[in-house]
Symmetry: C2
Subunit: 187 residues, 2 copies
Amino acid sequence: MAREMLRQGGRSARIQAEVHRTVQDLLKTMDRSEITVPMIAERAGVTPSTIYRRWGDLSELLADVAVARMRPIADPDDTGALASDMEAFVVQYAEEMSSRVGRAMLVDVVGSVQSGAAAQCCQYTYHHLETLRERAVARGETPFDVEEAIDRVMAPIVYHILFGDRELSPDYCRTLVRGFFAVSVYE
Amino acid sequence: MAREMLRQGGRSARIQAEVHRTVQDLLKTMDRSEITVPMIAERAGVTPSTIYRRWGDLSELLADVAVARMRPIADPDDTGALASDMEAFVVQYAEEMSSRVGRAMLVDVVGSVQSGAAAQCCQYTYHHLETLRERAVARGETPFDVEEAIDRVMAPIVYHILFGDRELSPDYCRTLVRGFFAVSVYE
DNA sequence: ACCTTAACGCAAATTTTTAGCGTTAGCGGG
DNA sequence: CCCGCTAACGCTAAAAATTTGCGTTAAGGT
């Protein structure tokens, strides 16, 4: 997530927004491996050195853009019950992330050792699951352990996306969720 | 894994071995982000163009080296019982892969879209687990589902390594293994 | 309104990557 | 065992990307 900006407004913010938008546009058209910093700079109307100084290199920039895209814009859908809430959330997550660009985003985020992009990314999913949990509690349903949900449901999905060793059908996702609720094996 | 070599012996093989060895040496000394192709080429005694032509770019080369390093040299230890076999295997895997270079290897492998490095990598772990399963069957123990083991045990470990959101203590690994054997939730 | 300095643009210097071309040597056939 | 074919390499020049120095612009505080 780049570094914390000391100056958050004005020109600096405009450039960040423009560069982000340009990268997202390019990702629609071409493959991640074809994108270069000078290419982004030209389309965004900035000089390459600005990008290098601010983000360090291409992979950091891509990771920054990825976490920004993954930032939740809304809470998960409320379907009325915990099981269906989580099912919907997980299926949608798998669908988005198993796409060509989705996988690339995960790889970029995970590849960003610095800048805490990886940490930020899994904070987002943690937060979503926490929302589902609180919602369940408010409904009077028996809650669940968020960390266990990550291990039992999210982790397998991410694993298969990254290693590409298995198709991620909605059915498979639902099986994971049902297995999770069927029995808790922690503690 | 580069591309299939049409010529597998002689000079070509020597160069591959020398480049691999050089990369591994460099990874001990410096960070992955500081390594460059010309740097590798010089130390390995080859011209950079050779590396570019053969591996394409740095990330492909690093992924190639990573899978080569991850190639199993021996079967997992035989401790006499399935549960302890898997415990030992998983704890060792977590230890190796959560290290600085181990994590970098995973990232490189996962980042290598082409070349099937990712597929090869998870084939290795699949094979190891399959070995444990066959061994268990031979002993007359109740076998287990390898894919379920990947989902329930390996996936969480890889997830936490890549996102760095949790310490991977041996205790945590053992909890995963015990939870896996305590109950099967598939099918 | 003024001051400080983070962040930028520009351009030169450096490094990395690509591409052309001649040479070396692995491997199969005679 | 020797020969021919060509994959793979080395070398070099050109192209592209990255780094760096320095002057300029404009946030954000006083």
